[in-house]
Symmetry: D2
């Protein structure tokens, strides 16, 4: 069904189960001539990796990636780029107690109802381990977008439980293990997370991802809209329950005279739209936010049933993140980058002849969001 | 680019501009044997139509649909169903003043930057007129889902500006022109809308759509998730800036012990997930919400530029809705129905042999959402 | 299932039954700025039309096309181009005797087995009437290819029954109603066809289509090969039972030292490959041939069964062509043009940055085929 | 561009270069519950493998396949099945002389013109090595078709150079290294091939593949026809230059009264159509033939140019097959099986409710072809 494939011209197919022999992906449609080596994947895989701090799962994933195809003498050749990571530290025994049980809030029951069979080890295909390959594929897209358009894609944690950033300092985001834009709040967050871990519970989070320097004109009406594709991309990330473009749900209480981004010869006066109008980029920063649910893998016992239909109480021991939103930062960036690169290629397919169109509004204002 | 086509097995292609000769769609993949006639489209097209009350645009759209193909002696034959509506009441003159101007908050500038050419009459392809054909296609899907699974799809207005429903009476929704679930608040809403119209401004809205009796097992990991496809479908509706499944952004402040929907042999104890886990339906009601921005077609003057790059002030006279979310009710239902029918067909393609899987949790609880 | 849609970036969706209200198509992905008006479709629709000579079916199809969308002030806008033709001269009564009978050699029985329902009037969806819209869509592709690359696409009849062209004069092809490249043989063909018509029988034909001035580098390995897509396109034409690229089945008896097209700085020394190697164009003329079966709609009685399973004898009266290959000339051109334009757009999506690559072999030699 | 992906519901994505680290594929959409283990792939990989006899290339390909995902406890789970084969015996030095040269009749020049870069080792992506993964994926499809419908898919060599089978004994095909249906001719073929090898030349071949017991009703009009998809599948195999369904090009000289397969209550009286009418299976054996060109990798020197545009003479030493059609037998079967399984799934997606349709013509006659 190609349901494990994402993207139209730049397409990414992922495969693999959490505790199977390996996970991998095939990236098809990448233009030739892009410099690419295994080391390029290191930074983002580390940013996603568990074990980076005590606030994320302690599973050690070495995530050593192997490039199996599509690269010759350090350059992409235009043929499919296959990437592979062997699964090495999968303690299947940790999950032994869930083979016959459907964990509440997990995909166990849904997969069972769909397929009548499931690989229960570590959540099998529904595990967040799959997102490793999204991050890897996203690295290729980020690199291409930066080289060809100077586009930068950065995400940050915009809320965790009731805590919201008091300030917004882009430079702070990568200096703390929460990807939090206000360094002063980090101790407060650490205390919050420690208490949460002690309670055996988890909490949700809000992540915002911003792509700067996106040219105007990317995106396709009507069902291939840039924001429609972003919504699908973001909602397909494990644990995401909501997606916003620009002001998102805040528009419900706005008046039209406030919301519409006015234009002047010097630039837009605001960016409530999040850089997309009619499904097409406007030249402003493209801004998307998403809501991550609290993981259901917690120590607090929950009611469920087993395969025989009998009631059981479930406690998920394993190694899990009290806030999965934190590790999702590079995943959100990857999905944004993949959608943008796909649309860059789609745009030139249909509109390569159009050329620069005047008048073009200079600069971009990000007031409004975040 | 097939960007005007939606759906994988049940696919819908729409065409047409707001003030061109006609709009239409081609529905491909509908199973044979479904009874279908032009009258079937009447109810939802009327629910969407402008001119239904003084709170929506006064443009008269007769929206008389013609079935051009795919139906023989009152039954679908399995071949493509083409539907056509001629555009009859398009006062192009109303839009004459915007031929050389980019309206702020509209797709004018984005289309111009993409294509270097645009049909400015009534917004051309970016007009909400396109959604007429979504509603028509949705009628086919609703009918098929009801006949085959007893699925009902209903949407309602869940917020308009700062006003939220005080009560939730499903029976009230279709009795008032706001699709509002609390009949007592209707006079308040009318006063609110009258004041808004006088001020020449507009306001946003929140719409929630609920599908009941969806079987478990629909949806496809990883990039063909039911909620991922719903997100794309909803975000592709004009003016939508946010999509939620189940509790949506409320999950950010929830704990895992609260959010996860526990299971008993008698049913789920809550539906925070909105009926989808791991991208697959759980058998609970599927619940999606979306944020509609306030229309930018307002009488309040706004700054913009014209094609020569000169600053202009824009006032959009025409006939417009102060709250476009109201008319979006049947559109939201249509997109939900189209996604569900597509997934019903996709499910049986891959899993027709699986058959009913036990244990199956009975009933469905909708507590949590809306 | 989108099975009525063809092409990846330039996609064409057709709809309509032979004797329904109308047939039409939606062309999606056409670049903006192409001049297009209803008159552009006239020439090829006439070339395809029945009634052009006494050797093709006498049904009068006015085939007046209406452009419903996607064109503004004479130029394509980048949005979907919908085309419509009303069915006017459909004598359904001619087909009354086949409502309950499956004509041998037709799709009647296959459709019945698939759908359990069928529109029997004139063959319904399986009628060659559908190819009218292929021709119309092909006109757009031909025009675009000619303007952007100087590509010309021309087909001719290369065999009819046992008769093969003695000479090959491109200028002769459009001067006779057989699209035959040797004018001297036309009287012989007329006598052949008259005798055939008198006998109430039909005969097969071979059609060859050649696209000149196709740049090298179009086509995509592995499953999006230019020749693979051509094969699908040609085989999807009604009555086609075989497709060849370049020398086709003649390669079975060739030696490698003969078949391979050698290269010199002045050009290829032959074109046995038909302009495609590894699925990618070489810069030589792209050459495809196809075999059209003799129509099964003949006056010679044939054995069949009716819906009740009883044996019946079938005579198809109606108005039919004794050699459907003749009318297929513009259809073959259309499919070639659509595939080429799709690949032109796909090529620039992935390889727009590559630019002209040296060394480029000049000219093109068409020796070998036809 | 997903151009390395084949199939709509059962989709196969292949990756890998001839002399890269590995080749592999991802099979998506396979129904759950199919028994599958690495040993299942052995038979067909051996049938395809080089080194089986002195008449095929002497490269040793162990082709040990590893299942990376999608199988749990010996059963498919419905998630993507990834297969991997490491490249072990790739003597890159053999190809050193072609790094700067475009071999005539190969894809070298076409890839170079498309991408401006190519992996020359062993032909890189354009190598027939890719077909190993087609064979592997085909094994899954064959197994599923046999278990669910009793469908058998068998190919044989139907012509090599001027030699055609004198008799047709299905039991003989697998008893000789030529997959030849007349055992008496094997000595003659061996002498033919020995002489060919000595001359340093190669020759073409004709392969026919037959699928028996295909139910009626598979295939989708108009652009998703069973025969259209078969044509694309077959033409995408390396070296194929022609595809026929049923009688193929022989229809050119047939009369309609001969070609049409008449129907009786006891069965069809012939199978000129090759089991497909209107793009939909009729219940007869599905028959396809293809023409394989003689490999261009021969010892006979040929003219070409190098990267600098200078004339060169090319001799391809390496290890190559004098007749690549022989090894293509399991590849042809694989593509037939993949297309059929895809259509089986597509059929039940749209038509699962239709059920058995009467009257159904019993049995099947294969007279006519081969």
């Amino acid at each position: 069904m190609s349901s494990n494939t994402f993207g139209k011209i730049l397409s990414v197919t992922t495969f693999g189960e959490s505790h199977g022999p390996a996970i991998g992906c095939v990236i098809d449609g990448c233009p030739p001539g892009l410099a690419l080596e295994a080391d390029d994947f290191r930074v983002d895989l580390d940013r996603r990796a568990t074990g980076r701090s005590r606030h994320t799962s302690q599973r050690r994933e070495t995530d050593d990636i192997e490039i199996l195809s599509g690269v010759y003498e350090g350059l992409t050749t235009g043929t499919p780029i296959a990437l592979l990571i062997r699964n090495v530290d999968a303690r299947s025994k940790d999950y032994g107690n869930i083979v016959d049980t459907f964990r509440p809030g997990h995909a166990d029951y849904a997969y069972w109802q769909k397929y009548g069979i499931r690989d229960p080890r570590g959540g099998g295909r529904s595990s967040a381990r799959e997102t490793t390959m999204r991050v890897a594929a996203g690295t290729v897209a980020k690199k291409w977008l930066a080289e060809h358009f100077g586009i930068e894609v950065h995400a940050h944690l915009a809320q965790i439980g009731d805590v919201v950033p008091r300030g917004f300092d882009p430079a702070a985001i990568e200096t703390n293990s929460f990807f939090w834009p206000d360094a002063d709040q980090v101790p407060e967050l650490e205390a919050y997370m420690d208490a949460l871990r002690k309670s055996g519970d988890s909490v949700g989070a809000r992540v915002t991802v911003i792509a700067s320097d996106v040219p105007p004109g990317w995106g396709e009406p009507i069902y291939g809209k840039l924001d429609g594709d972003l919504a699908a991309a973001m909602m397909s990330i494990n644990a995401v329950k909501g997606v916003e473009i620009g002001d998102g749900f805040a528009v419900v209480t706005q008046n039209g005279s406030v919301h519409r981004d006015q234009m002047t010869a010097d630039g837009f006066t605001s960016n409530h739209a999040g850089g997309v109008l009619g499904g097409i980029s406007t030249g402003q920063a493209v801004v998307a936010s998403m809501a991550f649910k609290p993981t259901s893998s917690i120590l607090v016992p929950g009611h469920s049933i087993d395969k025989a239909g009998n009631p059981v109480d479930v406690v998920t021991k394993g190694r899990h993140d009290p806030c999965v939103g934190i590790r999702a930062i590079p995943i959100a960036e990857a999905m944004m980058a993949l959608v943008l690169m796909d649309h860059a290629l789609r745009h030139r397919a249909q509109c390569a002849d159009v050329g620069p169109v005047s008048p073009r509004i200079p600069g971009s204002v990000t007031e409004g969001t975040p």
